[in-house]
């Protein structure tokens, strides 16, 4: 993906750039608001990473608002040291699509960028999700693998749905907490692991090909590809 990184802290810039490049992405850099705005407006990116505090007391949120007003719909991930939920809401209201607080784990950033940039096209008419022989009927709220119907409780269904909507992408525990349980704080994240292993038990245990994979130090992924 072609990614724009607007960040004034040099170390963070280097760290993030290297990691993204190693993951196969192209990264353009801006270390201040004006250049960032210029680049964002004049080039096409798949995702923009915008730091909130930029030199000259420029607020990254203002830049995002400007971009949105100009009709720019590029997904934007906001980086900020302000971890307050209110700040998060402010950021999302200004037009941001995701919010990550510093300090962050690189794997978290990578997974979220993937999720933003490669948004699976979900048209309103989509009634089913499918990975390999696992099929989820969104209307009937049923999950079938092969020929067997898999009974799932509502929360398990929601969990699997999120994973399948991001099939092929890494989904971190934090992303799961936020999107499946609406928890914007940090409970013991290993509770999520227990939910995942329960789900795995149901959809993978008695089948040949495991679909729900653990990505070390990152999170989970549902994919038909074997690693």
């Amino acid at each position: 993906m072609k990614i724009l990184l607007v960040e004034d802290n040099e170390r963070v810039r280097k760290f993030v750039t290297k990691g993204l490049q190693e993951a196969g992405h192209t990264v353009d850099l801006a270390d201040n608001g004006r250049d960032g705005l210029f680049l964002a407006a004049s080039e096409r990116y798949e995702v923009i990473v915008m730091d909130r505090m930029l030199p000259g007391d420029i607020d990254g949120l203002a830049i995002i608002e400007a971009l949105r007003k100009a009709g720019n719909r590029t997904p934007i991930l906001i980086l900020s040291a302000l971890s307050d939920v209110d700040e998060r809401i402010k950021g999302l209201r200004s037009g941001g699509d995701d919010y990550l607080t510093k300090p962050f784990a690189f794997g978290e950033l990578l997974a979220r960028l993937d999720a933003l940039g490669r948004r699976v096209q979900v048209d309103g008419a989509q009634t089913a999700l499918q990975v390999d022989d696992l099929r989820m009927d969104l209307l009937g709220r049923k999950v079938v693998r092969g020929t067997r119907t898999i009974p799932l409780q509502p929360r398990e269904f929601k969990l699997l749905e999120y994973l399948m909507r991001h099939a092929g992408q890494v989904v971190t525990r934090t992303m799961l907490l936020e999107n499946v349980w609406d928890y914007h704080f940090d409970p013991q994240t290993n509770v999520v692991d227990v939910h995942i292993s329960k789900l795995r038990q149901k959809i993978d245990a008695e089948f040949e090909r495991p679909l729900l994979k653990t990505v070390r130090n990152a999170g989970y992924m549902i994919t038909a590809e074997s690693r």
Partner: protein, 503 residues
């Protein structure tokens, strides 16, 4: 009191520091007590004047009417005498009357057709008197003196003219007294008002000064001072008491912050020290890359837990400062609790613990959704940590008396010894039994802070056996308004069959 005068706010106090003169008077007038008193005085004066003056004129008019009536009656009587005794008879009568008068009560004049005086106490027919009979007021020459008089002119048969009148100014002394009296009342009112205002102001200033002195002492850094509040219960006392309560809260907060800083310094040093030695050892021993990277990953994990600690402390600080109260929305507490139970259920199953939920009564309240969820999660998390295998945890939400809402997480684990209960919610406190379990001891203090933010408390009680941790919150809605949410019974207590679950 040299320290007082250095404070700009206090230097302007009505002290002999400023010079006498207009600025001082202006300041006195600006005093709200004086302004109020002056206002009342002015109002009183205006009311007095508004009442007295129209009354006086109305009274005067009616008295005037009566007097003129009397003059006319007199005229008629004289006309009667004229009819009976003729002009000479009337002249004699008038002469008698004039002689009997002591001092010009009546002005009498009988004149012939040519206005030549025949009898009476006027030397000449008054000038400027209109020709028709009627009542007139004009100056006449009475015994050498000019006197404004009311005259009733009558024409008698034969062309004779009769004047019966009255010196108007004779009675003006009464009117003098009236005006004098009014002025006197106004003066007394004004003086009394101004004096009263100044006295009130002085009394107020004395009390305000004592408040200022205490405030100065507080501002110098001694938070233990309190404002003097007499037990009279008037407005200043109420204000002083309110400020005192605020000072107490501030004192507690400041002490709390001092405590927290100490705790932070102490408790963060440990993981940071460990981190440092880990990294230093790494740089000294330089093991093989695989081990090095393993150590580095562990170091990152250490840093993460320090960060988590910081975040939790920051959260606590925010909550303590009450910053989040303005964000309150309507929250369904039972819904939050049910979700939390559902979230922790698999983890409970893993440990063979039964986790159940029960709701009784409408439990909507105004609060911070996120914080309440976090509090409930913390309590369940704690229970999961400390209750050994095979135990039971129960989450209950119910409406209490008044507008109270109780969220209780009870278990049959080891509980907290009574001696430790009061300390359990302190920051960084970790009971002896918790050694070896992960966590930094902020969980319960967070729950307590959240409970306080919602106007409530955290109560730790013995569950015989086990612990019952109960958050009692104020719902913000009065009793009788619970909108009971439809049928939410015990969420699946799906402990695995082999569990000996104690319900």
């Amino acid at each position: 009191m040299s320290d007082l005068s250095t404070l700009p706010e206090l230097a302007g106090g009505a002290h002999a520091r400023s010079s006498l003169g207009w600025p001082r008077v202006a300041r006195v007038i600006r005093s709200s007590a004086v302004a109020l008193a002056l206002g009342y005085v002015l109002f009183g004066c205006a009311a007095l004047v508004l009442f007295a003056v129209p009354l006086r004129y109305a009274w005067q008019a009616s008295v005037e009417d009566v007097r003129i009536e009397l003059l006319r009656e007199d005229s008629q009587r004289f006309a009667e005498v004229f009819r009976l005794r003729g002009p000479d008879g009337l002249a004699a009568f008038i002469g008698e009357r004039v002689g009997m008068q002591i001092a010009g009560e009546r002005i009498l004049l009988l004149a012939d057709a040519h206005l030549k005086p025949l009898a009476g106490n006027l030397s000449a027919w008054p000038e400027g008197l209109p020709a028709q009979p009627g009542t007139y007021t004009l100056p006449v020459n009475l015994g050498g003196q000019r006197a404004l008089s009311t005259l009733v002119r009558t024409t008698l048969p034969g062309g004779y003219n009769l004047l019966v009148g009255r010196d108007v100014e004779r009675f003006t002394s009464i009117e003098h007294w009236f005006w004098l009296g009014l002025a006197g009342a106004l003066a007394v009112l004004s003086v009394a008002g101004v004096l009263g205002a100044l006295l009130i102001r002085r009394a107020l200033l004395t009390r305000i000064h004592s408040i200022q002195r205490t405030a100065a002492a507080i501002m110098q850094g001694d938070l233990s001072h309190r404002l003097p509040a007499r037990r009279h219960g008037d407005e200043l006392d109420t204000l002083a008491q309110t400020i005192n309560r605020m000072l107490e809260q501030i004192e507690q907060l400041v002490h709390g912050i001092a405590n927290v800083s100490n705790s932070i310094a102490h408790d963060l040093r440990t993981p940071l020290a460990e981190l440092r030695s880990r990294l230093e050892e790494l740089s000294l021993t330089r093991p093989a890359p695989s081990e090095t990277f393993a150590e580095i990953e562990a170091a990152v994990s250490d840093v993460d837990s320090v960060i988590r600690m910081f975040n939790a402390l920051l959260r606590l600080a925010e909550i303590d400062a009450g910053m989040r109260r303005s964000e309150f929305v309507e929250v369904d507490v039972a819904d939050l609790a049910a979700k939390a139970v559902e979230f922790y259920l698999p983890a409970a199953e893993l440990k063979n613990l039964s986790l159940s939920f029960r709701e009784r009564g409408g439990v909507l309240m105004r609060g911070d959704r996120l914080l309440l969820a976090q509090a409930i999660n913390n309590l369940i998390d704690n229970a999961l940590k400390y209750v050994p295998e095979g135990g039971a945890i129960r989450v209950e939400v119910q409406r209490g008396s008044g507008d109270a809402i109780a969220i209780a997480v009870s278990d049959n684990g080891p509980g907290i010894p009574d001696a430790e209960k009061p300390k359990a919610a302190q920051r960084f406190y970790r009971g002896d039994s918790s050694r070896g379990t992960p966590g930094v001891g902020l969980g319960l203090s967070l729950v307590e802070a959240i409970a306080k933010l919602h106007g409530g408390t955290l109560a730790l009680a013995d569950n015989h056996p086990g612990l019952s941790a109960q958050m009692i919150l104020r719902s913000g809605t009065p009793e009788g308004e619970p909108r009971a949410v439809s049928g939410r019974t015990a969420v699946a207590s799906t402990a695995r069959p082999a569990t000996a679950s104690i319900g």
